[in-house]
């Protein structure tokens, strides 16, 4: 089991007001799964993503990553978990604008203390994997949206994490780039990478093998029956 969230609650406390964001969320993800978490904005999906990504801590509940309880770790250990076990892909790519694609991909390896030569080698490998071996020395400004997201994926994968977390990965892409990206995710998944993806788009969510819905902080598993019903209702909506 890669991911084991049980009875997660998260409240935001703002000036005497307690806003519950997640309510008794449990999610188990096995090695090699491809899970999409779908929900409208304000549903709590980003908060859930932050908790899975070890960027935030729940108010209540337990969370095991690779069989290890992560909630009792200090900030430094959390940073190391993010570095070694997780890969992040963001909606707006979050590439360093002044650096080349290669430099961007090398970034996690710097924090992992990898030596310069090996760093460049591994970053090149990762860029080649996403089909960008020709554009390694380009800066983000010289790349298209789809290419930028590929660089971000290369960066996420360069440390060979157990789990790839994608937060609205197609949010800033046109439909053609989105389709290509989803194909890349599928390939990565076939190679054994576990993927958890957040999206508000049902179309994108349907690319995953398993889809969860989140609404008002409550997570529900979408069954095959739902899927049939949606498809019967015309298209994927």
């Amino acid at each position: 089991m890669v991911l084991k969230l049980d009875h997660i609650y998260k409240d935001y406390i703002t000036q005497r007001l307690v806003v519950p964001v997640l309510h008794d969320v449990s999610l188990h993800v096995e090695e090699g799964e491809y899970v999409a978490i779908m929900g409208p904005s304000g549903s709590g999906k980003s908060t859930l993503m932050n908790i899975i990504g070890c960027l935030d801590r729940p108010t209540k509940g337990t969370y095991e990553l690779n069989g290890e309880n992560v909630l009792n770790k200090d900030d430094k250990a959390m940073a190391d978990i993010r570095l070694n076990n997780l890969g992040f892909v963001f909606q707006n790519f979050e590439l360093l604008a002044r650096q080349t694609a290669l430099d961007n991909v090398e970034l996690p390896l710097i924090y992992a203390g990898v030596k310069k030569r090996e760093r460049a080698e591994r970053a090149k490998e990762a860029l080649a994997r996403v089909g960008l071996e020709e554009r390694m020395s380009f800066t983000p400004a010289q790349l298209s949206g789809g290419q930028k997201q590929r660089v971000a994926i290369a960066r996420a994968m360069v440390n060979h994490p157990r789990l790839l977390l994608a937060d609205e990965p197609t949010g800033a892409l046109d439909s053609r780039s989105s389709t290509a990206l989803m194909k890349l995710f599928e390939e990565l998944n076939q190679e054994g990478v576990t993927i958890v993806m957040i999206t508000h788009s049902p179309e994108i969510a349907s690319c995953a093998k398993r889809v969860c819905n989140i609404f008002d902080g409550v997570l529900t598993e979408r069954t095959d029956a739902d899927r049939t019903r949606i498809e019967a209702a015309g298209g994927r909506r």
Partner: protein
């Protein structure tokens, strides 16, 4: 670390104008300090050269009591003081600060005692010198020769003149081989010597040294020590000049020599004792006075550095705000707090070190301009330059601390959400 430095340079180069403006305070501060230090150094070097003479390093150890030099004109010899013995000379030469030593007897003649035919010298300075005198003091032969061993052995009545004496007596004609009269005794002139100009002590601006310097007579006449009793008395007490190994050893060499000489005096409470001149010590006092004023200037330059440091802090704070998402991303992909802290501190330190480096360049240029415009000599002190760069690095770290801590404490969630 290396990666951080590379990143810092990358950042600085991509905001050239901003970085330059940020560094300006540091550049001005360090530049002023370097200019001040260079001017101090130059003035000190000049003082030192004027007082001590570059390269000769000789110290006079003369007889006197209190501040007054002993004057043999009084007639009677001081009790218990004899010519410096060979064993005393060996002791002096054994000092590790002493390179060479010479002994001489000396009189300043205030009456006209020296003649060549009709020309007399109203005042003259006459010395009975040993064979080490000319080379120890760095005299050069202009024409003729100095004394030979045979001159000492057979008590030759020969004399060596300096240019002043030669001019006074011979009015331009060739003095070599001519016979001059000293107290009605004939002496044959065998040579003219001169002190190379760099060895001349130009200490007119310090009153004290005018008194100690006997060059104020009309000219110098040298005769062999052995011949001295022909004119004056037997066994007159001698003065000593030691040549120190280095300029810094001058004070020590003088004091040690005086001690050895005083130990050789045979009476309990001598009327006069050997006293070493302390040019170096006086120089240091002189420099200290000069430096006191300059320290105030340094404080003013220091304030400029403080302002520069605050400027750096300000721009770093802006930079942290600007790069919130970069910091958020780096933290999200696994950068520890300490990595972010190190990155920003390095950036601040590189920025200010670069400022310091440019400041050193500006300071060197400034001191050259001061030199050209006012004629004040400048000497670049590279030690101070290195300290200046290290100091500006420290300023960067000090003033970069607050922004860096702020950056490292950013919550990655907030940092990524803020766009």
């Amino acid at each position: 670390m290396l990666e951080n430095i590379r990143l810092a340079f990358h950042g600085i180069l991509s905001h050239k104008l901003r970085s330059l403006l940020t560094m300006l305070g540091i550049i001005i501060g360090i530049g002023s300090i370097i200019a001040i230090v260079s001017t101090i150094q130059g003035t000190n070097d000049q003082l030192r050269e004027q007082l001590i003479g570059s390269g000769n390093n000789t110290v006079k150890v003369t007889l006197g009591s209190g501040g007054d030099a002993y004057d043999m004109d009084m007639g009677s010899k001081p009790e218990g003081i004899y010519p410096v013995s060979d064993s005393t000379i060996r002791k002096i030469l054994a000092l590790d600060t002493v390179e060479n030593v010479t002994c001489y007897t000396n009189r300043v003649l205030w009456d006209t005692a020296v003649y060549y035919i009709g020309n007399g010298m109203s005042t003259s300075n006459i010395s009975g010198v040993d064979d080490q005198y000319f080379n120890t003091l760095g005299y050069k032969v202009k024409t003729g020769r100095t004394f030979l061993q045979s001159d000492y052995d057979i008590f030759s009545k020969v004399a060596v003149l300096d240019q002043n004496a030669a001019d006074a007596l011979f009015k331009g004609s060739n003095p070599l081989g001519k016979t001059i009269e000293i107290y009605k005794k004939p002496f044959v002139v065998v040579g003219i010597v001169y002190e190379p100009s760099s060895f001349e002590r130009d200490i007119e601006d310090i009153e004290d040294y005018q008194l100690m310097n006997d060059d104020d007579s009309n000219g110098q006449i040298f005769i062999p020590k052995a011949t001295w009793p022909v004119l004056f008395q037997y066994d007159e007490p001698e003065n000593v000049i030691v040549k120190a190994v280095s300029t810094d050893d001058m004070t020590k060499a003088g004091q040690r020599t005086a001690k050895i000489l005083n130990d050789a005096i045979t009476v309990e409470q001598p009327q006069v004792t050997y006293q070493a001149e302390d040019l170096l010590g006086d120089l240091k006092n002189q420099q200290k006075m000069q430096n006191a004023t300059n320290v105030q200037l340094m404080w003013i330059a220091g304030i400029s550095l403080l302002v520069g440091g605050i400027g750096v802090m300000n721009i770093m704070l802006v930079s942290v705000t600007e790069r919130t998402s970069e910091i958020g991303l780096k933290k999200a992909i696994g950068a520890r707090k300490s990595s972010i802290l190190a990155q920003f501190l390095t950036e601040a330190a590189v920025l200010t070190s670069l400022g310091g480096l440019l400041g050193v360049v500006a300071g060197v240029v400034m001191s050259r301009i001061i030199n050209i415009m006012t004629g004040i000599p400048v000497g670049i002190n590279w030690g101070a330059a290195i300290i200046a760069v290290l100091f500006s690095m420290a300023i960067g770290i000090l003033f970069g601390l607050l922004p860096s801590v702020q950056a490292s404490n950013l919550d990655p969630i907030d940092a990524l959400r803020r766009e």
